[in-house]
Subunit: 211 residues, 2 copies
DNA sequence: TTAATTATATAACAATTGTTACACTAATAT
DNA sequence: ATATTAGTGTAACAATTGTTATATAATTAA
């Protein structure tokens, strides 16, 4: 069963021997909605490989300022946690399940070992880093070049895609936290977006049109 | 001579055999001040290893909006160009020499080959990615949580460190471009920072106090 | 030497975002 | 059933950032 899930979701197809090893040493776990995958300051010694679901990765400063970086979905891994694992340092990001997610955890010792043995693993590690760097570039573009109304719309669209559902169960307050602004600002601009016909607002619910 | 420079500057000490290979296939080049190392859209097939100098890495959108991401210095490589090299895709960032810089260019084919052969190269690649991800996180923090006056001061401090000189030769216009704002805003806030005793302003020159 | 260009300073105003306050409704708890 | 809490709407105002315009000094070109 685990084998099927691995074969199904990992686009860079691993060699059969590598799949065997992953199944042998990996720990399968279900992360419930709103459960923490990893928190800031954690000392994480396992590399997560996502099978299903969605994880929200965010950044928080000591002062409590917070901002969402990107979402992880099936086939993704959290390259940022490579660093923590390898250097035994503390996580600089937080990961919370947006919905129930299936994850395989692999001991960090395998990262290096498999790099020598498996070409597909080398490809996976490099590709994962590249995807993550591009996500970060995307986050930087958003912060540097977009106004708040555009940022909100992008946030909603991204979330609709990752949740595979045009109707989001969320509150204005949650969006405000994720975009590091205030609830009033979000309410104001959401209403404006509704007037422009881009979304529909309900209590605890937002429907995104033409995402 | 190349051997000495390599040994001197690369903190992750490469095995002797790897140094030999780098010297054999690498191309040594001097990049003059303001010269382009790589531009957006370029099809780059060489991995740059920095020996001396400083490269400013920035991002530009189609609309012409621009922003500085970070600076490269000795011991650094441009992991973002790994992606372009490997996937033969176009560069998403620009690199311009802030001062004359010495670089060794290595063919991308070696990236994979050396990962199998040399433990120190695997370490270097992973470490480079991690450094870059942290730089990106830093850039995100700056954009998401800092006001423009703080961003200016951080920009100046970073540049002072990379240039190893408390007096910067730069104009308000250049800073405005690097921070994606207008010259008037920069002049206004620089004057404020001068009044606070944090910098001293001259024509084409800014001295940073207590960086 | 004079004219043109470049760099800087600053005022006045516009647009965007942030803050405080309060009203109203829906959901939940007692 | 009533009280409490949570979510939303909106006005009024403050702070920050962006824009336009104009002045002046330093540098460079003719």
């Amino acid at each position: 069963m685990l084998r099927e899930k691995l074969n199904e979701f990992y686009s860079v197809v691993f060699e059969k021997e590598l799949i065997d090893e992953i199944i042998e040493v990996g720990k399968y776990k279900i992360i419930k909605e709103n459960e923490l995958l990893l928190d800031i300051g954690n000392n994480f010694q396992l590399i997560p490989l996502m099978l299903t679901g969605a994880i929200k990765i965010s950044r928080e400063t000591k002062k409590g300022d917070e901002i969402v970086l990107y979402f992880l979905e099936r086939g993704d891994t959290c390259t940022i946690s490579f660093a923590n694992c390898l250097k035994n340092s503390k996580s600089k990001v937080r990961g919370v399940a947006e919905k129930e997610s299936e994850v395989i955890f692999v001991p960090v010792s395998k990262l290096e070992e498999w790099m020598v043995k498996y070409k597909s693993w080398r490809g996976f590690v490099i590709e994962s880093y590249n995807i993550r760097l591009n996500e970060m570039l995307d986050a930087i573009d958003t912060l540097a070049f977009m106004k708040m109304d555009e940022r909100i719309l992008k946030y909603l669209s991204d979330k609709v895609k990752i949740m595979r559902n045009p109707t989001l169960n969320t509150t204005h307050q949650e969006i405000a936290i994720d975009l590091n602004t205030s609830r009033v600002v979000i309410s104001r601009l959401l209403k404006q977006l509704e007037n422009e016909g881009k979304i529909k607002l309900f209590r605890n619910k937002i429907e995104v049109i033409d995402f």
